[in-house]
């Protein structure tokens, strides 16, 4: 598709495969009704429109190298996301994008990489994980730390288990609480940092999850010796236009839609602790 679409006007996409991940999280594959899916980078997002209901910003959760469809993992937390999560194959969605500043997967080459995901945060990180795994020899040690509420909330569980079996990846999973039949770790995700094997002075940290979890995690990575300029978070704010023209997503002086969502921790560390900024 060579013509530049009007960034305000959604393009129709068709829902392909739908997969229920957990009780309230669904993954959908979306292919354009006409033309090709644009290229995108890990960490970018699309604005997904449900006819007559509204639009919401959702990160792409698929493999940027796989052509054809966008993959989006959506949690039912509101009117629009709930409507998206309940769509079936063949339904039509409107889509605008891709937008946003991506994960620094290229800048991280030559370094150890520590992915820290909390809950649904694994979805926006997954494209970066795919990118790194596809170029595994360009990176040092690669660590994936994942925390979520309980064992039944583990996202992409089969995939996480596959990653865990690889010899060139360290994967640690923890949950906030569990039943006695859970044989894995129980505790918060920052606790996994001390156990993981990476060189803090030449690591890049990519963190995604609820903002409180990212704050605790960024602190823990800093305490472990990773410089703030080497830690990246994926931020979230109210979005309407997604192209820096409506003002809603401002976070201090930054627009989360274009200066983010991936933002370097040294830039935002101070402002993150200001109430209601």
């Amino acid at each position: 598709m060579t013509e530049l679409a009007d960034p305000f006007v959604p393009v129709p996409y068709r829902v392909g495969r739908v997969r229920r991940e957990t009780h309230d999280i669904t993954t959908l594959e979306l292919a354009p009704v006409t033309g090709e899916r644009p290229d995108y980078q890990p960490g970018q997002f699309n604005m997904l429109y449900v006819f007559g209901i509204g639009e919401v910003a959702i990160s792409v959760s698929g493999d940027p190298a796989a052509s054809g469809s966008y993959v989006h993992t959506v949690r039912d937390v509101g009117v629009v996301s709930g409507a998206i999560a309940r769509l079936g194959a063949g339904a039509t969605l409107g889509l605008r994008g891709p937008y946003g500043t991506p994960w620094p997967v290229e800048a991280a080459e030559g370094n150890d990489v520590v992915f820290v995901a909390g809950g649904l945060g694994l979805a926006p990180l997954r494209p970066a994980i795919y990118h790194v795994l596809a170029r595994r020899e360009q990176y040092g040690r690669v660590v994936i730390l994942y925390g979520t509420r309980s064992p039944s909330d583990i996202l992409f569980r089969h995939e996480v288990e596959r990653w865990r079996r690889r010899l060139d990846l360290e994967v640690l999973v923890t949950v906030d609480r569990a039943d006695a039949d859970w044989r894995g770790d129980v505790g918060v995700v920052p606790r996994l940092i001390a156990r993981a094997g990476f060189d803090p002075h030449s690591s890049v940290g990519m963190v995604c999850g609820p903002e409180v979890m990212m704050r605790f995690t960024a602190n823990a990575l800093s305490a472990a010796g990773v410089g703030s300029e080497r830690i990246y978070l994926s931020m979230e704010r109210n979005m309407k236009c997604a192209i820096g023209l409506c003002g809603h997503c401002q976070f201090g002086p930054d627009f989360v839609c274009k200066d983010g969502p991936v933002m370097r921790y040294d830039r935002i560390a101070d402002i993150m602790t200001v109430r209601e900024i």
């Binding site: 649904l120 569990a178 979890m213």
Partner: protein
């Protein structure tokens, strides 16, 4: 005894511990092995020992009546299990169950408390190591209470 002392001092908890205090502490220590499913302690038991986990995994859990036990934390290699021995009435406040085959050093609480009373320097060295662990667990617990992966209030 020397072998045990070496094992005790090798544990992450005693990193930087003064060598001459080694025999004092290991004098209260003994080796343990727990099979999967075996309990290190039950809620309400006298907290006679605390454990340095050498390897394996221990689940800390509470059983609300009418429900299945809820695991709120797991401790592994390099961690400790048990802080109730520091605070009267010295009783375990939860169950501690080995999830995997677990080897641990048990340190006799009464023995160590008496020695700390007698030697404040030993007592302070123990405090310096225990307090950060407790503070860290408090922070972790607060994060767990926030239920950050839940849907949020309002």
């Amino acid at each position: 005894m020397e072998g045990l002392e070496r094992i005790v001092l090798a544990h992450a908890f005693f990193a930087g511990f003064e060598e001459e205090l080694g025999p004092v502490v290991s004098g209260c220590a003994r080796n343990h092995r727990f099979n999967p499913g075996q309990y290190l302690a039950h809620e309400g038991d006298p907290a006679n020992e605390f454990f340095l986990i050498r390897h394996g995994k221990v689940a800390l859990e509470i059983l609300p009546p009418g429900q299945t036990p809820i695991v709120f934390s797991t401790e592994g290699e390099g961690d400790i299990v048990g802080t109730s021995w520091l605070v009267p009435p010295y009783r375990w406040r939860f169950d501690a169950r080995a999830v995997e085959l677990t080897r641990a050093i048990g340190i006799d609480a009464r023995c160590l408390r008496d020695k700390c009373e007698a030697d404040p320097r030993l007592g302070y060295e123990m405090m310096k190591r225990i307090v950060p662990i407790i503070v860290g667990r408090l922070d972790d617990t607060r994060m767990q209470i926030l239920d950050v992966y839940g849907k949020g209030r309002k």
